[in-house]
Amino acid sequence: MFRFIVRRLIVTVPMVLIVITLTWGLIRLAPGNFYSTDKKLPPAIEKNIRAKYGLDQPWYVQYGRMMGNIVRLDFGNSLKYETETVNDILKRTLPVSATLGVLAYLIALVVGILFGTLAALKPNSKLDYVSMALAMLGISLPNFVLGPILVLLFSLSLYWLPPARWNGFPSWNLVLPVLTLSAIYMAYIARLTRAGMLEVLRSDYIRTARAKGLSERQVVMRHALRGGLLPVISFTGPALAILITGTVVVEKIFAMPGLGNYFLNANLNRDEPLIIGIVAFISITVLIFNLLVDIAYAYVDPRIRY
């Protein structure tokens, strides 16, 4: 187990480096500059700006400096929000995105596993067809269509819920964005649970459990779920990637000051330190999550040994 973790970490480090290098390379190869967006600057001022941000150095010096900063987890100052460092912005925006993401994933887990299991227990029943059709709808309906429709319905017509803006953790403002974000997870998890459970329910150890006289409830809850949920666990890795694209849209729609919103704006503002900071932070998080998922997998499935 320990060797497996070490080996995975050794692979992880170059992955993060590749992502950051790719991002940095794209930014540097792109035509134009962050300061040349409006009118043309006098050469002296331009020279000063280039010197201030180290742009007059050869590219390998700049690259080395950036990588050195990342190793020390110091991403420098944002170009757009000049009074804040990238770390300040990460600290401020991460709680917003994390709250949305964690809540959405938890709700999706509960609802998705519940309906996936119910559908698998009675395949081809009405409940099965309805929940799988809804799941397909959840996968097909883009969240930027679902979100506004929910707002239209619950905020602008029924006046039940606030339509947008961040208002701290336990607040009604979270309901609509979290629902919008969780729809696609719910759909995937329900489909994965159903497929996994159907396979497990036909296996020998379930027949054994039934044969020794366990109640159906115990068979499902204690024996089948453990095996049937394996696909759901391995989905957690890709789920994080979906979360990142999902939060960009949901935070934009609901005007949430989260990581995704800042990432999008950083790109539109050509705010290089902020982009690099967020990309580095997210790739590290994703890769650590993938590692945790693999470890969790080994704990749940006794057949897997590393």
Binding site: I18, P142, R270, V279, L287
Partner: protein
């Protein structure tokens, strides 16, 4: 032999003059039978035989009898079988019909609308009183009218024409990016699978590494920094970027298929007759791996279209004067409280298309690949 498309079943069925299949000559060739076993007696088909889909499982002459005088059943191929299974799946047929309708409407619709009402997707009415958003099926004076079945947007443009024009772009992005991903994925996966060993290790390790990357962030960076020069260039950038990030699963699928196929006799035969490696891969192995590839490609189209819509929604994808379902939704959302039809029509058209494509893909998987079926 090497010039022919390799068959699905290892033993070839060669139709004779009457058009009934006989077993291939090679099967009874003594040179190919294991030493010590007498060559199997030739099996001659007669009227009344049921022809097996897999001749090698036939027991002998007149394997399965049907009453004299009954019609000989034509040999069914994998593809015919799959087609029959697909037609039995009601949801998949529904998906196929909806996708066909939307595709036809997108291709032909804008022309028809121009003939009927004079509106193109970017026609802004000359009368400034009309430059505002009318609800669906409503004339400027509030009475019923067929001129704008989906209403008009804030500039007075016909939403139906814009949705259909957007459909062209969205479908084109879906198809072309999937094609790009097919080309990269098939080449990559087939090469890794066929060559095996160190090459396989290296190629698949690269795929593993790329899998873990949150690639959408990089696509956002790419489009934000390189885009915005001209609308057409932006669309080409989209094709390339989305194709370049969606080939990974395809490579894995093709590799798996190729590994399971590469030790079969027809590959050995091809190699023995001196066919070059690239030709073996693309002429012999890839056509036989097409089933799962088609299934996965069908499911890639909606996911690429969703990514395109997502990027266009953020303002990084398709840009004016072109429109896609994503960029139309993005325009619509700004006026959602007053003019909800501006969002609902493009959004629902897109959701319906993705819904149908997903059902079609699921149905194809069930039909072509019964073992992979998710019950």
């Amino acid at each position: 032999m090497s010039e022919e498309r390799t068959p699905q079943v290892p033993t070839e069925q060669v139709p004779n003059e009457e058009g009934r299949p006989t077993r291939a000559v090679a099967d009874s060739d003594p040179a190919l039978t294991p030493r010590g076993t007498p060559p199997a007696p030739p099996v001659r088909p007669r009227a009344g035989d049921e022809i097996h889909a897999f001749p090698e499982t036939a027991v002998g002459e007149g394997d399965v009898r049907v009453p004299e005088g009954a019609q000989v059943v034509a040999g069914t191929s994998l593809w015919k079988d799959a087609w029959k299974r697909l037609l039995k799946n009601r949801l998949a047929v529904f998906g196929m019909i909806v996708v066909a309708i939307i595709a036809f409407a997108s291709v032909l619709g804008p022309g028809i609308i121009k003939r009927a009402t004079g509106f193109e997707y970017d026609t802004i009415p000359a009368d400034s009183n009309l430059v505002r958003s009318f609800p669906p099926l409503t004339a400027p004076d509030g009475s019923f009218s067929w001129t704008h079945p989906m209403g008009t947007d804030s500039a007075g443009r016909d939403i139906l024409a814009r949705v259909l024009q957007g459909g062209r772009i969205s479908l084109a992005v879906g198809l072309i990016s999937t094609l790009v991903s097919l080309i990269i994925g098939i080449t990559w996966g087939a090469t890794a699978g066929y060559l095996g060993g160190k090459v396989d290790d290296l190629l698949m390790r690269i795929v593993d590494v790329l899998y873990a990357i949150p690639y959408m962030m990089i696509v956002i960076v790419l489009l934000a920094f390189f885009g915005g020069q001209s609308p057409l260039y932006q669309i080409f950038l989209l094709f390339a970027a989305l194709g370049a990030v969606s080939w990974l699963t395809m490579a894995r699928i093709v590799r798996g298929q190729v590994i399971s196929l590469k030790n079969q006799e027809f590959v050995l035969a091809a190699r023995a007759t001196g066919v070059s490696t690239p030709k073996i891969i693309f002429r012999h192995l890839v056509p036989n791996a097409l089933g799962p590839v088609i299934v996965y490609a069908t499911l890639t189209i909606p996911s690429v279209m969703l990514s395109e819509a997502f990027l266009s929604f953020l303002g990084l994808g398709v840009q004016a004067p072109y429109s896609s379902w994503g960029s139309l939704s993005s325009e619509g959302i700004q006026n959602i409280a007053i003019f909800p039809w501006q969002l609902i029509f493009p959004g629902v058209t897109m959701a319906l298309t993705l819904f149908s494509l997903n059902f079609l893909g699921d149905g194809l998987r069930d039909a072509l690949d019964p073992q992979m079926r998710k019950f």
